[in-house]
């Protein structure tokens, strides 16, 4: 599964790790993240991410 990078702050979303702090389980693909999911570092929305 592809990693995505936040264009604002450079945080990398790694599907292997998910985002447990926001209740996203490891193994969740970027496209399957909820629409209101935000970057855990800077709060940017999904639209601000691009494939890493």
């Amino acid at each position: 599964m592809e990693k995505y990078i936040c264009k604002l702050c450079g945080h990398i979303y790694d599907p292997k790790e998910g985002d447990p702090d926001s209740g996203v389980k490891p193994g969740t693909a970027f496209k399957d993240l909820p629409a209101d999911w935000v970057c855990p570092v800077c709060g940017a929305g999904k639209a601000d991410f691009e494939p890493a």
């Binding site: 604002l8 702050c9 570092v41 800077c42 709060g43 940017a44």
Partner: protein
């Protein structure tokens, strides 16, 4: 140490640092800087931001002339970076505030900076949240990545007053507190220097924030930033907002900056010849030798330039370190809408121009002309070639500027 009343019952209680030259360890502040903090005296007494560690006594001395620090009810932390929150632990200890307001990402930053945060009465606020402090209201607007995740504006509608934290800041140390006391050119230079070295990578956020300010219908007749001078009155506020829009849009300017480093002056001679060519086609330029100019001065110059011409000789199969440093710094600041070109002299292997070109391409610059490489010392013919290249680059820049 006197405070200054900037609106009725709103006082500046900051510190002026005439000695600062190194701003945050990466940029220069040739005119020093200020750490602005503000206090609003209403039914609740509210302190907005603090100062850099080491300047807290100055803040306290000003504060004590108008209010007993223990009477401060709230502290608002618009930004956790240590030039604004450095004195926060001491202020919390002295003021014993009922609440310390910050954004949700501000809380995370506070947890990472201060060991005593668990003892603090932190309250997080989001965009759209507001609190009443008596006759006045404080509305909060998160401005994420302008220029840290935690950054936030505080707005007081009754006073049409915006505390903008680092946005609209300038590194100026002076006894004046308002922008209208300064010649516009001097202010503009300081605004440019600050934007191009700190805010530039977040230009998209600036445009979003300006749109948000318009959308929320915030009426503003004073912008009080945390560095430098305060914008008062419609004209000054309009200037600040419009200037930020221009900075963020980054329309290419019809000027060039030629940055280089040199060993035995061969690359330097090429720089001067390229400048002649640009000039012959009506494009002014500034030549900046990286041994004599700081990388932050190059960024300030870049604000008005649509073209970056970068030169280095080949040294040990690479480029000279000052050029590598400057290009690394420039890349991080993510300039947009620029043309780039590379040049340099070499002795045998000649990798310089390819490396410089890769740096420029890596920043997304358009490269209208091939890089120019000259073996050893440029002769008349080589310098004529440099001049021709300068002319060609000038034509490409004028086309980009729509001429």
């Amino acid at each position: 140490m006197q405070p200054l009343e900037i609106k009725k019952n709103v006082h500046w209680v900051g510190a002026v640092d005439y000695g600062s030259r190194d701003f945050h360890g990466y940029s220069l502040s040739p005119q020093g800087t200020t750490y602005n903090a503000y206090v609003v005296l209403d039914e609740k007494k509210v302190l907005f931001d603090t100062v850099k560690h080491g300047f807290s006594e100055v803040l306290l001395e000003r504060l004590r002339t108008i209010v007993n620090p223990e009477d401060i009810d709230y502290i608002v932390v618009n930004h956790v970076e240590l030039d604004h929150a450095g004195a926060l632990p001491q202020l919390i200890k002295l003021c014993k505030p009922e609440a310390v307001f910050c954004s949700p990402l501000g809380q995370k930053a506070i947890e990472g900076h201060f060991k005593n945060w668990r003892d603090w009465p932190l309250k997080t606020v989001k965009t759209g949240d507001s609190i009443s402090i008596g006759k006045r209201t404080i509305r909060f607007v998160e401005t994420r990545m302008l220029h840290w995740p935690d950054s936030m504006f505080s707005y007081i509608p009754e006073d049409k007053l915006l505390f903008s934290n680092d946005a609209f800041g300038q590194n100026i140390a002076s006894s004046e507190r308002f922008t209208d006391a300064l010649a516009r050119e001097a202010l503009d230079q300081a605004m440019t220097e600050y934007y191009y070295n700190i805010v530039l990578p977040y230009s998209q956020q600036v445009l979003k924030t300006l749109a948000q300010v318009a959308e929320l219908g915030l009426e503003i007749d004073m912008i009080a930033p945390d560095h430098g001078l305060i914008f008062r009155g419609e004209d000054e506020v309009r200037y600040a907002l419009e200037r930020y829009r221009e900075f963020a849009e980054q329309k290419p300017g019809k000027r060039a900056v030629i940055v280089y480093d040199s060993m035995w002056h061969s690359t330097e001679k090429m720089a001067y010849a390229i400048a002649e060519g640009l000039n012959a086609e009506g494009v002014p330029s500034r030549i900046m030798d990286m041994k004599r100019n700081h990388h932050s001065a190059v960024m300030t110059e870049l604000a008005r330039c649509g073209l970056v011409v970068a030169g280095s000789p080949t040294h040990n199969n690479g480029i000279l370190p000052y050029m590598a440093a400057m290009l690394t710094y420039m890349k991080g600041l993510r300039p947009q809408n620029r043309l780039g070109a590379a040049f340099g002299s070499f002795g045998w292997s000649g990798e310089c121009v390819k490396i410089l070109t890769d740096h420029l391409a890596g920043m997304g610059f358009e490269l209208p002309e091939e890089g120019l490489k000259i073996k050893h010392v440029p002769d008349e013919e080589a310098l004529a070639q440099c001049m021709e290249r300068g002319k060609a680059l000038a034509r490409a820049l004028k086309a980009k500027c729509g001429e």
